[in-house]
Subunit: 274 residues, 2 copies
């Protein structure tokens, strides 16, 4: 039931996936397994909010993807004039658009998307602004120093919460600059460093969000941040939108993650309650 | 890229969809177009909550569907041992599992899922309990009298909010009783009456939720409730879970709807903030 072109797309994607081969052998053994779940954050008795910010890009068939080929095809299965109603079938690669990385995405054995507890999906949000650094260096890696500067200037990283990188990349989503691939196909966009990931784990953070296509920066060949973070039972969000519209601290992140048995992640409706 | 059996499944579904042919001609013209959006509810300056209730069933390939054929197929496209990471491609009929009906689902021209404003997806929730009546009559239709009894006993229907039918059907989801089809294939489960839909529209309600497979009851051949409600710009939720765990009033519903361009609905992560 593929639409025209679908099999080609998959064939090309499978070929590109060869990039990943061997990574598991060299890195998975070195993955950091921190006891999880971390101590539950002392949740305020009542969380309050007065507005909702949509942190989700609109997904469409030509939305940019990590692999550079379409991640979504919409197959119409009913049309109003003919059937009295409208309906589509989606052919959708899980890691497309604003989406969740479940722990199992980069682990041999960890939680799937449906197994993440609901109270880990409504959590405090910290936004770390590295826009100037990323503008100067598209390969920028959020560092432990960036996180300590946040702690000194804003407040503690949220135990039981999510830390988001605001690199300014969300506004590039409609153009080639979002993937920012060079002549060799190497992408250049910012991400979290492995050391930053380990530091966030020490602080009991459970979620990592980026406004780019990957938790690792685009030039990574070893996916150190993915392999450090996800196998510990933590989740990630990629292609998050509109982080400029939420405060550096104080918002509550709502992750409308797919609850599909066995899913390794998937397009999610992400909101901030402010 | 269909998994084995996929094309058969679609062929059978297409055949079943013949059921709907002609409905548009007889009913769409009679659809009630109420001005939308209704006056915005006077939202409290701050909404508070202290716990999150997951109102979402886990979706899997054998989750019951309206058409009686699988609505989801999971195609593995990467496996950890071979590729260093795990990933699937979903082949997914939009109206499967706990899911949104966008206005366009039963209208020639109305909002698609991505066009619903974010502040219409975080709204007050009213839960109308008709479990006893549905247990006595699986074809039960929520009536205007049921809604007036709610107003008299609990409080007003939430202007700008969502009204959910709790018929007790969610607990049947694992068995044949959820579709409850008779020997002729006619399903028997409760839903909202058209008159109840019209009454809710007069009160400025924007969302209608059911714990069954359809806003209309299972025996409907004319989909009067769908055709009255959705073309007015309102949305629906079907297969909602765990309504016993939220109060009759006072909760805030969060609809983690898919933000996919042109979608007529889709699996959604539904939560209640209580």
């Amino acid at each position: 039931m593929c639409v025209p072109g679908c099999q080609d797309v998959v064939a090309r994607r499978l070929s590109r996936r060869g990039l990943f081969k061997g990574v598991a052998g060299t890195l998975a053994g070195a993955a950091v397994f921190t006891a999880f779940p971390p101590p539950r954050a002392a949740r305020a008795a009542t969380n309050g909010f007065s507005r909702v910010v949509d942190l989700t890009h609109t997904l469409m068939e030509d939305f940019p993807t990590y692999f550079g080929v379409p991640g979504l095809e919409m197959e119409r299965t009913a049309a109003f004039d003919e059937n009295g109603f409208n309906m589509y079938k989606w052919h959708l690669v899980e890691h497309t658009g604003t989406h969740l990385d479940a722990p199992i995405h980069f682990a041999k054995d960890a939680s799937t998307a449906d197994e993440i507890a609901i109270d880990q999906l409504v959590v405090p949000l910290a936004v770390v602004d590295v826009k100037e650094k990323a503008a100067a260096d598209p390969d920028y890696l959020v560092s432990v120093e960036d996180l300590k500067a946040y702690e000194a200037g804003v407040g503690p990283l949220p135990q039981g919460g999510c830390v988001a990188m605001n690199s300014g990349w969300a506004e590039k989503v409609g153009g080639e600059e979002f993937r920012n691939a060079d002549g060799d196909g190497m992408m250049h966009f910012p991400g979290f460093s492995k050391d930053a990931a380990l530091y966030m784990m020490e602080q009991g953070v459970v979620g990592m969000a980026v406004d780019t296509l990957s938790l690792d920066h685009g030039a990574s060949k070893t996916f150190d941040t993915h392999y450090s973070w996800l196998p510990s039972g933590r989740w990630g969000l990629e292609c998050v939108a509109a982080l400029d519209e939420v405060p550096a601290s104080g918002a509550t992140l709502v992750v409308g993650a797919p609850k599909i048995k066995g899913a390794t992640g998937g397009p999610s409706r992400i909101m901030a309650l402010v």
